[in-house]
Subunit: 201 residues, 2 copies
Amino acid sequence: MPKQPAAARRSAASRAAILEAAFELVGEVGYGRLGIEAIASRAGVGKQTIYRWWPSKGAVLFEAILVRGFGDGEEPVPLPDTGDLEADLRTVLRATALELASPEVDRPLRALTAAMVEDEALAEEYRIRVEEPTREAKRARLRSAQRAGQLPASLDLDIAIDAIFAPMAHRWLTRSGPLTEEYADALLETALNGLRHHGPN
Amino acid sequence: MPKQPAAARRSAASRAAILEAAFELVGEVGYGRLGIEAIASRAGVGKQTIYRWWPSKGAVLFEAILVRGFGDGEEPVPLPDTGDLEADLRTVLRATALELASPEVDRPLRALTAAMVEDEALAEEYRIRVEEPTREAKRARLRSAQRAGQLPASLDLDIAIDAIFAPMAHRWLTRSGPLTEEYADALLETALNGLRHHGPN
């Protein structure tokens, strides 16, 4: 039992309100104009309350996005595994295309990207808490496909993951083309063709 | 003949000094701590001189990188075309891997990326002045390979460009793995295998 249940409850409520406010605000004004003062005001707390828990607006935003995307401290969702690699990846890539194309996801993700390009510590935390667990979930799905004989056993899984998933992330970041289901399908076809025909040189 | 050759010469010299100072400084302190005042001081000009020509530090930096990378207002260098698509792309991708892995390129490029994620006008200018001409040079090389029968004529060239070039850019941005010649070769093999086996569904 916590010693100060009421204070602990108030802390938890304040934290949740701050994260919610940060997530909402960045969607409205973008990262450049996101301010600790505005977050505090919308969350109904003082600025010092925010600075007690987070060192920067980037850190608040990171936590806010993490809580939305993965649940608080939980493992990332594994990739679907119906036994059909191509169908499963199509499901994932189509869903990713639609998500990235939606303003509710686009804006906070761009803000987080901006924060991380400037803040190496935040980027490192992202790698540990998001990127690497997500990659591991992808590796697990590809290993299952290797066991099922759908991909060569000799494949370098990190190359495979980059080939399958990176082009869409890059198109999103550079806005170099539309993010559609057709694009997802075409990318997947190209990547899987390349990976299936992989062999030792 | 310009009416004020001496003044015009002084302007050109100031511009060059400002761009040089911005490029050097961002390599030393990163984008977050890059300041107009520090650029002005190193270039030996007043802050107002900078603000007369550029609206923001991001805009100065963009110009500084553009001048370095492409010559001032010149066309981007075309991709090599020896008639052997795989060899030519290997040359380009290996060179890109080594460049991105070097701090002199990594730091200014990260700074520019940070600036563009926050500044849509700058991102749009980048698309027009860098991304699209570069893509067009890549398309031209792939069209030449199509004419030589090295790639299917039915290929969507923008999908092909994403499949070949995006994974390395993404690995660089996310620092998700080392940028080596081996990585370049493995990516290229996967992408080209996928593109060669492309067919209408």
